[in-house]
Every structure is written in C-alpha cells, then in structure tokens.
C-alpha cells in the first residue's frame, strides 16, 4: 500500500497540474493578504491576524480540484488502463489515491499557510500591527483539516463522474448555485451539505456544528463518495 501511495505522490509531482494549482493558490494568498493589510482599519479589527490569513480558506477548494485531477484525470488521459494493470484491485487504487490526495492537500495548505504568514508578517511589521500567533493558528489549522478532507472528497467525486471537466463544473455548480439556494430556502438542510460543513470546519464562531462533528460528517461524505466511486470503478469497463 505504501508503494501505491508513493506512486500516486510521484504522479502528482511529475506533471504540472499540482504545481499550477499551488502557484494559483499562492497568487491568491499574496494578493488577499496584501490588500487586507493595506486597507486594514486597525482599532475596529480585533482579529486582524486571523482575518489577514483567512485566504487559506481557499486551500480546500484547490485541494478538491487536485483530487478530481488525480482521479478523473486518469480517465481523461486514458492512463487509467495502465494504472489498473499495476493495481487491478480497485479498492487498493482508490485507497492509495485517497491517502495521497490528503497528503497533497496538506502540502498545498503548507505552502499557502507559509506564504500567508510571510505576507502578513511583512505588512504587519511595516504598519506596526502586532502578529497574534494564537489567532493565526485558529485560522490556519482548521484549513489544514479541511484541505486534507476535501482533497479526498475530490478523489471519490472523480471516480464517480470520471469526467474531469464535468466534475469541476458539477463542483462549482453545487457549491455556488445549489448550496446557495438550499441555504436560502432550507437552512436546516444546508448545514448538512458539504459546503455548509466546510464553513463549520473553518469558522468556529458562526457554526451550526462543532468543528469535530462537522469534520466527521465531511468524512462520512468522503467515505460515501469513495465507496460509490470504487463500486463504479469495479463495474466500469475500461476500453
């Protein structure tokens, strides 16, 4: 199993997709942190540090896109045949991809968090604003948890849909259209949906569920997509 995870990590390192995602993420983090720090109205803001670092909340979205590329991308490029020749047992393949994606999600978080802290430190230093480490951790660490979970969610989604573009379109339509409508009409249902749960994992203050509960329900989604994706991968002919 370790070998399969290492192979998946090597796949992630040997194309430009993961690097491209990391660069996009870094650009957003640098831009967001700079704009926030430059326009910060100090006395009004009691959580200046965590607000400045909140661009790491983009990491889960980039992580799930990575997960989709790592799973549906194999179908898109036809490499799924060769991959299944090495690992014909679908359960093992999906399992290895889940673990590897969670690791890549954590790595995306690490580079984003590191840059966010550097940008914040430079701006706050220049403006004489104190950097509150405890406040920083309260924003950064939940993003790590969410990044790992959402990367794994992307693997399951990719195996269910197998269309890379389709999965990414479905993801954004779900998050920004379906969940917005449900949130407006049925807020009690929305809190059980992945986007609503993501909010609870990231923000403790306006949450419906406590962070551990929200993370566990998200994990249930990860497991459900992975199980359905594996079952479909077992049945699906690769031609």
């Amino acid at each position: 199993m370790t070998a399969l995870v290492l192979a998946e990590l090597l796949k992630a390192r040997t194309t430009r997709s993961a690097v491209g995602l990391a660069l996009g993420l870094l650009a957003i983090v640098a831009f967001f942190g700079s704009v926030h720090a430059a326009t910060l109205d100090l006395p009004a803001d009691t959580h200046a540090t965590s607000d400045n670092l909140s661009s790491v909340f983009f990491v889960p979205v980039f992580a799930i896109i990575f997960g989709i590329l790592a799973s549906a991308g194999e179908y898109r490029h036809g490499t799924i045949s060769q991959t299944l020749l090495v690992t014909p047992v679908r359960e093992k393949l999906v399992g290895a991809k889940l673990v590897a994606a969670a690791i890549v999600g954590a790595a995306l978080w690490a580079v984003a968090a590191a840059l966010a802290v550097v940008v914040c430190g430079i701006w706050f230093g220049a403006r004489g604003i104190p950097f509150d480490a405890g406040d920083a951790a309260s924003t950064l660490l939940p993003a790590l948890l969410a990044a790992a979970l959402w990367a794994a969610l992307g693997i399951g989604l990719g195996f269910v849909l197998t269309s890379q573009v389709g999965a990414i379109v479905a993801l954004f339509a779900w998050l920004f259209v379906v969940e917005s409508i449900v949130e407006g009409l049925l807020p009690r249902v929305h809190r059980f949906l992945p986007g609503g749960l993501l909010n609870d994992v990231l923000h403790a203050d306006d949450a419906d569920f406590s962070r551990p509960v929200a993370a566990l329900i998200t994990l249930a989604y990860v497991a459900a997509f992975a199980v359905v994706g594996t079952a479909l991968a077992r049945r699906r002919d690769v031609t």
Binding site: L10, H77, T79, S81, L84, L85, T239
Partner: protein, 296 residues
C-alpha cells in the same frame, strides 16, 4: 499460459466476443488475428481485467489477472493506442509504474535502453511520435521482467526497423520459455513472428492452429473468366478440379496449372476471356477464414 474459457462479452444486443475458448502456451509466440472490430481488443482487455466478461473466464498462469499478487511482474501488456499523460516525461511515467509495482528504479533505465528511448527519456510524452509512444508502452510492459507478454497491435506506428526489432525481440522472449500473445489485423505482419495463430471473426474463434497448418491451406489457383462459365465449371469438375464461382462469369479453379485449365476449356469448346495463374497467399487464407473476400 493464458487460458480463455467460454469468454463472452455483450454490449446491449451486440455480441463483441462470443463463447471464445483458447489456450496460449508458454515458450511460443501466438498470434491473435482478426479483422478490425473482430473482438481482439475486447478479448485482451478481458484477459487483463479491464473489461468484465458477460460470462466465461480468463486466466493467466491459472489465476484471474485481478487476483495476481504482483501483476506487473507476471504479465506485461502493450495496449492499443497506449495512453500516457502528455505532460509527463517518458522516464517519469515508467518511474510511477515501477514505484507502484515495487520494481527497482534501475529497471527504468534498463528498459529505456532496451527500446532505445534513453535519449528522449526526459522529454514530455506530448513531444513523442507514435512510434516512440509505442516503444514506451513496450518498455513499460518489460519493466517487471514478466513471464507473459500481451501485445495489442504492437507494430502500429513502428517503422520497418522497429517492426523487425520487435519481431526478433518477441522470438527471443518466447525462446526463453515465456508466453507471448500478440494481436494483429494483418497476418503478413506477424507471419514471420508467430508459431501459431488464433483467428477470430465477429467474436468467434474460426481457427486455432500452427502457422504450418495455415500455410498448408494456402493453395494455388487459376482464375478464369468465360461467357460459358457454367459449362467450364462442369468440365473442370469432370476432370476432378474443384472450382469456386466468384461471380460475373469468373471462376477460380483449385489447381496450379493454368495450361491444364486452358486444355480442358479448349477440349470442351469453351471460350476464355481471361486465364491467370494465381498463388493464393497467407492473406487470402486469412480473408477466407474470416469471410472477408478481397475486393474484386
């Protein structure tokens, strides 16, 4: 050894592979022949666990592919139109396979050397020609030093030197006592490589025999055209010569001597418009077996 037992694959009402049974022995190169769409690729993919048979069973060394403990070390496969990630280098592609299959990384450079891709190994696959991709696929199949090689139309995209290299390579591979199963839709392409052939058409096995037996089927014939074809046919039959009516006054007589056909026609007062000695090739045998007659 590869074994297919009553393999069947249906897509809706279409039967792609129909109750196919055969065995492929070790120590020989076995050809898998059939026209395009005959079910070769589907069969190979069923052997490799990529396509689920509707019914029947396929085993390699007595085990289904998905149950082999380290499949890449037992079976090497070159699939038709092998796909690679265009942005990954050939060498990195092989490294991902070697890592997953727990094959030492030095094998990557060894197989690149074998297929003569070392010079371009670090280039991204999207810059590769069809032939280079095909060689990369062969390199991947060889990574685990497997006992069984399955190749689907491996000559596609290879230049004549490459085809020759592949032929020699497969022969020596089988000579080591290993199993080689290679598909093609052109008999001539693999006639010099294979010891025996399994021929399929429309998903059914039509012949499974040694190449010697196939060659024995390749009889010579004499093609004649006559306005009195029916009468000529009777006359030839009376002389014990079998004929095939290919339409529009044309017959093919199953005999080598065009002189003899001409003499019989003259003796019976039959006018001939055409008289040609033809040697039927292996390809004709193949076309005849698969029921695809040559365009006239």
């Amino acid at each position: 050894m590869i074994e297919a037992r009553s393999l069947t694959k249906r897509y809706g009402s279409t039967v792609a592979v129909d109750d196919l049974s055969f065995t492929v022995p070790a120590g020989a190169v076995t050809g898998f022949l059939g026209p395009n769409g005959a079910g070769k690729t589907t069969t190979l993919r069923m052997l490799l666990g990529l396509v689920r048979p509707t019914s029947g069973d396929a085993t390699i060394g007595g085990e289904r592919y998905v149950r082999l403990p380290r499949p890449a070390a037992r079976v090497g496969a070159v699939l038709e139109a092998s796909a690679f990630h265009p942005g990954r280098s050939g060498r990195n592609h092989l490294r991902t396979v070697a890592t997953g299959a727990e094959i030492p990384e030095r094998r990557v450079d060894e197989v690149l050397e074998v297929v003569e891709l070392t010079a371009v190994a670090r280039r991204r696959v999207k810059t590769y020609s069809l032939g280079m991709r095909q060689r990369l696929a062969i390199a991947q199949a060889l990574l685990g030093d497997p006992d069984v090689l399955l190749l689907d139309e491996p000559a596609n995209g290879l230049d004549p030197q490459g085809i020759r290299w592949l032929r020699d390579f497969l022969r020596s591979y089988a000579a080591d006592g290993r199993t080689v199963f290679v598909s093609s839709h052109v008999l001539a392409e693999i006639a010099q490589t294979v010891d025996s052939v399994a021929i399929i058409n429309r998903g059914k096995l039509v012949a499974h025999e040694s190449l010697m037996e196939v060659r024995a089927r390749a009889v010579a014939g004499v093609r004649v055209r006559s306005p009195q074809a029916a009468r000529l046919r009777e006359a030839l039959a009376a002389a014990g010569i079998e004929t095939t009516d290919v339409g529009e006054g044309r017959l093919v007589a199953r005999i080598e001597s065009s002189e003899r056909v001409g003499e019989i026609a003259a003796a019976n007062g039959v006018v001939l418009h055409e008289l040609t000695a033809e040697s039927s090739s292996l390809e004709d045998v193949f076309l005849e077996l698969t029921g695809e007659s040559r365009p006239q």
